[in-house]
Symmetry: C3
Subunit: 137 residues, 3 copies
């Protein structure tokens, strides 16, 4: 059984930003030499998400618009009584989810035709981290 763990760092320009991290994941898989197994990709912060969807700018805007509609920024959240101002980012994390597990088959990320892994930043402009763990043979 082989394991490889790497950490990706992000520091986005915008408060909310959506980054396709699939090429980074492919690089890590290649480095691991694993042919069969799984890759766990998880945001290590509670104001960011990981999801799989399309690499198309329209759908990214649609996702952002939906998340703003369901968990709006600018509200007076109870969490803000602690001095924080990003309660909406925590809620967006809950809705999107913070992790995905990608199957590895024949040395490749076993994706369908349009699947791309995205890092969804909901409270950017600071250094944040994602853990990637590959395990298999």
């Amino acid at each position: 059984m082989k394991f490889l763990t790497e950490y990706l760092w992000f520091n986005t320009r915008q408060k909310r930003e959506y980054l396709n991290i699939t090429p980074e994941l492919q690089r890590i898989l290649k480095k691991s030499g694993i042919q069969e197994g799984i890759m766990l990709v998880a945001a290590m912060h509670i104001t960011a998400g990981i999801y799989i969807n399309d690499d198309e700018s329209g759908i990214i805007e649609d996702i952002d618009e939906m998340l703003e509609r369901l968990a709006p920024s600018g509200r007076d959240y109870r969490h803000h009584w602690t001095g924080e101002d990003h309660g909406d980012a925590h809620l967006k994390n809950i809705l999107v989810g913070h992790q995905v597990i990608v199957p590895i088959t024949d040395g490749k990320l076993d994706f369908g035709p349009w699947q791309q892994v995205y890092y969804a930043e909901f409270d950017g402009q600071r250094r944040k981290r994602v853990v990637v763990k590959v395990m298999g043979e």
Copy 2:
């Protein structure tokens, strides 16, 4: 360490449809011979989801009604500028999630009393795929 990977194909009659795939997963587990481990079940398309909930027609309608309320079909999504017409299906995928990991204990899917795995089709009437990967001993 043993691995088994299978692909399930779907081509639903309706645009949106919810299919209980638990019997298929039990068949795959049996074929794998794995007694201890995990089973990853993931939609390979970005307009479908996988979730675990009740095999009860009322709750399925309630889930569908909620998803239509939070990510309505028929809206003029930005994604549609590409010529597509199923922006809502991408958003429903984000809300429901596209994968589950089922624990395997004593050669069985380690479920609670009412847990069933569903394939949630949000843009059907075409051939689509789910990957199932079992790993363990």
Copy 3:
């Protein structure tokens, strides 16, 4: 390859309650002796969720408020025609998700600075269960 499976039982006082189960998970990891691998944490009931977020009472209330807004209790859900009265709990489970996979690195749950694992009870005042499976070396 080592495996350890444990079950956590809950019987909350309130209908909806949010419990930080991280210390229990750390105890299970220590017992397993696993240094590299993953821990799967999954609700075994379809009216509860598992998520990772902050151990801060304000954000917990914000999460609860959002879930009540998106999947309100007290509605006349179709599921209630079966005699049940907790349709909203099923829907909250769909939105939050019922499981997380935590990476294990150097014998520790590989978390970011604020990540805590929560059991989210949406239909409490009865005995319910969570499965925890650790696998690795």
